[in-house]
Symmetry: C2
Subunit: 180 residues, 2 copies
Amino acid sequence: MHGHPEVAVLRYGHRPGRDDRMTTHVGLTARALGADRVVLPDNATQSAETVRDITGRFGGPFEVGLTDELDATIDRWEGAIVHLTMYGERLQDVEADVRETHAEAPLLVVVGGEKVPGDVYEAADWNLAVTNQPHSEVAGLAVFLDHLFDGAELDQAYEDAEQRVVPQELGKRVEDVDEE
Amino acid sequence: MHGHPEVAVLRYGHRPGRDDRMTTHVGLTARALGADRVVLPDNATQSAETVRDITGRFGGPFEVGLTDELDATIDRWEGAIVHLTMYGERLQDVEADVRETHAEAPLLVVVGGEKVPGDVYEAADWNLAVTNQPHSEVAGLAVFLDHLFDGAELDQAYEDAEQRVVPQELGKRVEDVDEE
């Protein structure tokens, strides 16, 4: 997010077909809640296309990358790494440390698919649990980002949008954006 | 959540097959982030079964209901109603009002599927947007509940669990719970 070191979200694992919607939602949630970039496995081409399309219409900056090197993306990362997992330390216990570290350094947020190898747990600076309950990697990512940015991401502006939603008590209002 | 008026989450709409995972994640997110109950459309039997199974293993109290009367569930609700939609008012602008109302009254949180009719917008006390960006109903529900409870749901305890995850810096630790 503007004014912060980079936050990139890495979706670790994707099964085409079965995971398309979840992976798309990981990407869209990353964009809407303040991350700068999502990196998807290279077999998630359909999800990547959807997230790019939304970014084109509703604005950015937000980057969508595909990689066939999930592990190398982690190994080569220059900054701090958070791995979201229900087995990790509690968000409320470590979030202050994560925020302090991210004030100075880029942050990679690893969001697991079905199987995450032990190496990812080892590589992470924090294995972090948004509750130690089974729920949803999309929900976990959303709450994590909202805590990381302390709600400031809710006010972020988007550039180069074709359209924008105007908040309404009732009904739907979408405006075309005329770039001057 | 314990010590608060009831929060029920209503999943409005479900397409069997296509929506199974999203609806399951709505239910699991409701449970993990402090709601007391989820009500699913009666064709979401598989999702209901999964959420009940998780509740049996990881504890409650949490109820899972099925209904063939989505609209009547809204019409008959005795309390306040929030409808989560990207077209609504901004979370940060109305959350204080929602919290204040919920201090005194039960709250129904309506989470849309593909098509939500205008009647739902009319019936809601708040049409509320967790960002006015397209992302994920699961992410929106998670951030909404976390704001509603001001993070207190992260500390909630579960009763009658068979097992529980013990937070770890590294690795996975799941304990059997012996009820005395």
